[in-house]
Symmetry: C2
Subunit: 565 residues, 2 copies
């Protein structure tokens, strides 16, 4: 393609509100433009990259035996009411009425539609298992759209749904998708981790998130540098070994006056001890009954784990009045002497000696607390976020932390939708059973942003070969020079005939402008045709390595073929 | 692909509400399923055919120099308000609010979005011309969705928009799209006509509709069998030569008593004359002033032409009271003796002699009317639909009529949107000018239905090679027979390695079921592996010609390669 007429509106300035590198670069390189908050148009170069990702997704999904189809964006409200999600999905689900006043949702996801379809069309075990997928536009009215394509309101998604007759069938379907995802993200050039995730309220069991590693990522990943353990922070577990206390031992807890000292930070300064020697006590309630959660002072409660332990959907903090009613004082809560409420001890306090806890009296704490000796029989549970310094439960290596962008998600749904929507099959014995489902998503447009987030430098994008909008950027230094123009035409034709894609910068612009744009657009190989055109010599520059070298025209094609092999 | 697990839910029965052949066959062959009125899911086979059409569209658009992009479905209301269409588009435009109460339209077309984008990104004549396109889901809340994919509420469309600096530039862009459309529809195997159409209220000038010929089509095409003239009925023109009257001539009009005779049919029976000897008089009003439209008795008024002639947007029929107020009587209106209203004479009455007209008196007509002699100086205009028997104005051949499905539309928009939305460019002299636009649509999903409408027989679909979901249907008569199974496996692999697509019917079904399904699904070549498998002989049947013949396995591949060349 010739650049003169191609709609690639590059920008010199970084738009002020674009926080993520990918967002800035996609705007600067003319890949996308915003139409409304979280809603973007893909310009020709962005579209090409997006199509390369779609092709990879299709090839790997097909290879895994999934069947492509296409479902509508307009969903009758009845389906979402039948599954129960019309009421619980909240304002993220966009809703509208047609000319007859019938309610519709704009598809945020397609469990309802696919389950209803499969219910109507598949009745026998003989037609199972089946995995169906589509690449389709999704609508989610995010409260806070941000980071360009990373969190948008209208976006391109690949969603797949598997239907099996048994749990082991689901395992196999799930595994096939898991492997397809590994291939897809690898081919896209992404550095990623498949992490265990919490299955949350969707009601499934196993679930993995595919996280592209990036500092801008909104999710924290905990992973083991030695074995392959990796999990989302909400799900990750680690092992803590408590060091002996530096405080002098004593035979029983004793009170210490700590006036106005209510935070862990203040307390550790006041007593000159580490936060790891303090036990934090949180007063919470769930379904009306109060509980005290004990956790080591340097660590944070993981609300999702806590809910699982309590077996509830919601947990609230107690108010000051409720804490007083329990016989304690906000800021000085502790496990000793409190009656009438459950104690939940995070495993991080197991074996702590000489610990400090709240005294349930204003301005006092207790020190010299030995957990095993002084707190009676505790119910231990893992209710914390893994902290720095924790070790892998599989291989005891110290765990590492990273930030990630969720680009994919595989999920064992089980029978939630098949039961609520009546998707059953008849087995060999004529017995009707609910189909066992899995669902599998890839944020196709988000992958594009994640690729750029990982592949860029201070000058612009550095495309992986498989995703680059064009293989080559052909730069003619002086389009009014006969030799340069003739050689450019020749190479433009030759390279395209050889199956490569070429963007020819045929603009009447200064070399500096062309070089800057070429770096910004970041195609793998730049070929510059300048003064040596009459000697049939061109300059070749690799965007990623920065290496540049002169080649004769005769050498060029073999060189390119090996470069892109 | 193997049929056992593929989601191809064929139906034996024709769904009762499906009127169009394509709709019936797409349901029966398991290509689509309805989710809601006018809203469909594409199942795997339908999806494959749809993708083949998309590939053809992309290739031809790219070849014509158009650039692919992708715009959102959610359009901020402000854009539609700026163009003035928010208010005039009516209930076909689906509307919704986001969580913050901001209004959006679901894109029914993208003139507003593309014009705003181009306005922001292109400022100089140097970047023009440019033609941008997308293949994208459109939403139009049709009052009466029908015929399956032919008139849906959510459908796939290719829309393109050209931006030029001059009218001659637009001519060239328009011509490039026109030619691309000819290639696209030809490659899709459609019988079609590019017909002149009325540019209507959109405000453009030239426009052509691409009509796939089909009896189910909602549009009437008038075309000349000799020259290449073809037009939509609303736009078509023809030539009429009036025969001399069979009534005895008289020197002046005379009254005839026609009690209760108010229709052309009654009048022609009552007087024993042809409708071609009667002049119909319609009383209409536009912008408050009345007019009488005169047209030959066998012909119909073309409202669009009439509005053009009157230079108005709306025309109404006069009420009985208004007719009385004019000094006439409903059912007996005529041109003679009426004052205070304009006469508009369709060219079909030119030269009529011995004609019959209403007498403006209850139960009376006038006969022996000679138009030239008795009606004074008339303003002639073409305000009729072309009637049967009219002749081509270019070559005088009698015009023919056909029904068509509108599959494409090319349109010279001019500056309607660039002016209302402020899309200007600066010319060589630094003067700002509005860009001159064209828009070009193809109903991608409608093309799929039109292809099936044209390519089917009583047994099922007869796919054109370029669109067929699979090249081959490989039928194994007895999947429990070792020889048949082995040979099927071998051919399945061989044909796919050779680059063909194969659906292998590996189901445990009776031969009759398999043959019927193969006819219904209608792939170009059916290969049946039966009892002669051990001799390595298969049966090959061409779906279109119905020819079948035996081939040895060695002959098969060369035969297929030449068949699909």
């Amino acid at each position: 393609m010739k650049q003169q007429r191609l709609l690639v509106p590059t920008l010199r300035d970084v738009p002020g509100d674009a926080e993520a590198a990918s967002h800035r670069l996609m705007l600067r390189a003319g890949l996308i433009r915003q139409l409304s908050s979280g809603i973007y148009s893909y310009l020709p170069l962005g579209m090409k990259a997006l199509q390369h990702i779609q092709t990879i997704v299709r090839e790997e999904m097909d290879r895994a035996g999934a069947q492509e189809m296409l479902m509508p964006a307009l969903h009758p409200a009845e389906l979402w009411k039948a599954s129960g999600r019309w009421d619980v999905y909240g304002p993220e689900l966009m809703r509208l009425e047609d000319r007859h006043g019938r309610e519709f949702a704009l598809g945020a996801t397609h469990e309802e539609v696919i389950t209803t379809l499969v219910k109507d069309e598949i009745h026998s075990y003989k037609k199972l298992p089946v995995t169906l997928y589509q690449i389709q536009t999704k609508f989610r009215d995010e409260r806070r759209p941000r980071f360009g394509l990373l969190r948008g309101r209208e976006f391109l998604m690949k969603d797949a749904y598997s239907f099996d007759r048994s749990a082991s069938g689901l395992d196999a379907s799930y595994q096939a998708m898991y492997e397809a995802y590994v291939h897809i993200f690898t081919r896209c050039g992404l550095q990623f981790r498949a992490v265990e995730a919490d299955s949350g309220a969707i009601g499934g069991t196993d679930t993995h998130e595919f996280m592209a590693l990036a500092d801008i990522g909104e999710d924290t990943i905990v992973h083991c540098p030695s074995c392959h353990y990796a999990a989302n922070l909400e799900k990750a577990i680690g092992r803590i070994t408590n060091e002996p206390s530096s405080l002098q031992e004593a035979s029983s807890p004793s009170s210490v006056h700590t006036p106005g000292v209510t935070s862990i930070k203040q307390l550790s300064q006041f007593l000159a001890i580490e936060p790891t020697q303090i036990i934090k006590s949180f007063a919470v309630k769930s379904q009306g009954s109060p509980a005290i959660v004990l956790i080591r002072g340097d660590l944070e409660i993981n609300e999702i784990k806590l809910k699982h332990v309590l077996g509830v959907q919601e947990v609230e903090m107690l108010s000051e009045a409720e804490i007083t009613a329990l016989g304690s004082v906000a800021g000085f809560i502790g496990p000793i002497g409190l009656t009438g409420c459950k104690l939940i001890a995070d495993t991080s306090i197991q074996g702590m000696v000489n610990a400090v806890v709240g005294a349930n009296t204003a301005d006092y704490h207790l020190q010299h607390v030995h957990v095993e000796r002084d707190l009676g029989e505790l119910t231990y549970a893992d209710v914390r976020n893994v902290g720095h310094g924790e070790h892998c439960i599989h291989c005891d290596t110290e765990l590492a932390f990273a930030r990630g962008i969720e680009v994919g998600h595989v999920f064992k749904l089980g029978t939630k939708y098949s039961e609520s929507l009546g998707a059953t099959f008849t087995d060999e014995n004529g017995v009707a059973e609910p189909m066992i489902m899995g669902c599998y998503g890839i944020g196709v447009s988000r992958v594009l942003a994640a690729v750029i987030e990982q592949h860029q430098d201070e000058r612009g994008i550095v495309w992986p070969n498989a995703i680059a909008p064009f293989n080559f950027h052909l730069l003619t230094m002086n389009v009014t020079d006969e030799h340069q123009l003739a050689l450019s035409e020749e190479l433009y034709t030759t390279l395209q005939r050889a199956g490569f894609t070429v963007l020819w910068d045929d603009r009447e612009e200064r070399p500096g402008v062309k070089f800057n744009d070429a770096d910004l657009l970041g195609f793998p190989l730049r070929i510059t045709i300048g003064k040596k055109a009459n000697e049939r010599i061109v300059e070749c520059k690799e965007r990623r390595s920065g290496q540049s070298y002169e080649l004769s025209v005769d050498q060029l094609l073999p060189h390119c073929q090996s470069f892109f092999k």
